[in-house]
Amino acid sequence: MYLKLAWRNIWRNKRRSLITIGSILFAVFFALVMRSFQEGMYEMMIDGMVSVSTGHIQVHREGYWNDRSIDNTLPIDDKIVSKINSIEHVSRACPRIDSYAWISTEELGRGAMIIGLDPEVDVINLEDKLVSGEVMNKDDNVVMIGEGMAEYFELGIGDTLVMLGQGYHGQTAAAVYPIGGILHFGNPKFSNNLVVMPIKAAQQYLSTENRVSSILIELDDIAAYLEVKPKLAELSYQESVDVLDYTEMIPEVLEAIQADRIGGKMFIGILYVIISFGIFGTIMMMTAERRYEYGVLVSIGMHRFKLFMITLRESILIALVGVIMGFLVAFPLIYKMNTDPMPFREDQMDAFQSFGIEPAYYAVIDLGLMAEHMMIIFCIAMLVNLYPLVKIMTLHPVEAMRK
């Protein structure tokens, strides 16, 4: 009967109960959606950085990260690559060599980043980015360039470009390569300045023999990086190495994300304060309206705490309904944007392209995150019951019944 009483009390003032349920629903919906999208954006940013430029972990010759010269490269053989590949959670190991060169045609010139990679294993999916031409093979002597660069030099498939740079130990690196394919990159820096070529051809061009700038490692689970790192360091290399994970390679990005995350949480904190006042208002009204009734009940012999528990049951029911409904409204949206992210409109893209990502409205499904916010809102809805608790505990039945 206590539960029956609580249930009927909810319907006693429908509008007030609906306002309370509505505020809770809105708070849950807003918090879940906003935080899921926020975390989705961070995941996209990290993924974008990791998949194109850094990988989850990299192995370099000791000191390379702070002095990325061609002389600071690490000699490797196929054995070490296959050993890395056999470590648990490693989904691929991609040797790369990076350098800079002056690119020129007959009339024009421009500086460029050169990345030598193995097209069969590398994390960059050339197939996906191909605009025209063909994806290079690992033994080819061709280059692939970004759309921006192709436009600048007015180059097409089969045209040649001249690359001039510095090779290993001061040797001159100069060669002419035909263009095998043109690639699309979201990030204009890559589009305008990137030249991709097979690692063997690049090693030849730079006279580094079997040296690489980095072995870029992709994991099947980003969270496993701390577990994999020491295993990588244990392997025997021809020279001493550094093993860096993505948190060490893109700390600025992670710091920016952390700052933004705090901003988001503060925003939601403010929302919670507003919602708290709203719910508090309704519960104050309710307590005032029922003062006489509380007076009668305490007079005829109801223990104050029991009386409070009836009120609390009512609040629990309301909060549960609000929280569950908020979840039920938010989840399909989050689920949809997780499985089928909606691309940004053209004009919204710019800000994100520098992160090297294809921007989209993408949300993570993180049950822990959702549970946390649902719990917080539920607790707020419980906490406001301190007001009726105090009122009931200090109620004087005679005064409560005097009009």
């Binding site: 009967m1 206590y2 029956k4 009483l5 009927r8 009390n9 319907w11 006693r12 006489y292 009734e293 009668v296 009940l297 305490v298 007079s299 005829i300 012999g301 109801m302 223990h303 104050r304 029991k306 039945p397 005679v398 019944m401």
Partner: protein, 229 residues
Amino acid sequence: MPIIKTQNLTKIYKDHSVEVHALNGVSLEIEKGEFTAIVGPSGSGKTTLLNIIGGLDNPTEGQVTIGDVDISNLSDNQLIDFRLHNIGFVFQAYNLIPVLSAKENVEFIMLMQNRPKAEMDERAEALLKAVGLEDQMHKRPREMSGGQQQRVAVARALASKPKFVLADEPTANLDSKTALNLLDIMATLNKEEGITFIFSTHDQKVIDRARRIVTLEDGVIVSDVQQDV
């Protein structure tokens, strides 16, 4: 032994430095089975006296003994329990929980006493029948007339098997016909079940039904008479 004994009750209200002497040394004994009216002009202290007897308010001085319990020695929780098991209350109006039906209102007080469900059910029906509401058991208070609501309140007051029932102006919100009907029901319960009623009133017709009339004036008992009805 009287079931209620007050000794020299004094109640002083302090309202912004103005002292109101609501009761000035009231000593009263009530025996089991009485049907007693507390009467007197407005402001004479009737409500104050009933509240103090019912353990809803504390006297400034004096003491109240119910059975063999001095209720001024009880803690708040003990006093609440004491009221639940010993005193039935009927207030002037709005006695009932609006979201519960007549029967549920009567059952509710037995639920508070942790009585078995079957007993609650049976007793609630019997009591509502005794106050003539067998057809109205499933109605909510707002679907009933004021007189019917007061009869439910009487049934509820009796449901807890109290030692006595206190009713402060139970008929004040009723028209005189309905008021007398309520009084008749109370008088019958008093005669047939031996239930002790103490009620306050202004209404001469109601006073005429009482067997004992205690008159207050300015917080003092000025007369205390028995009458045959």
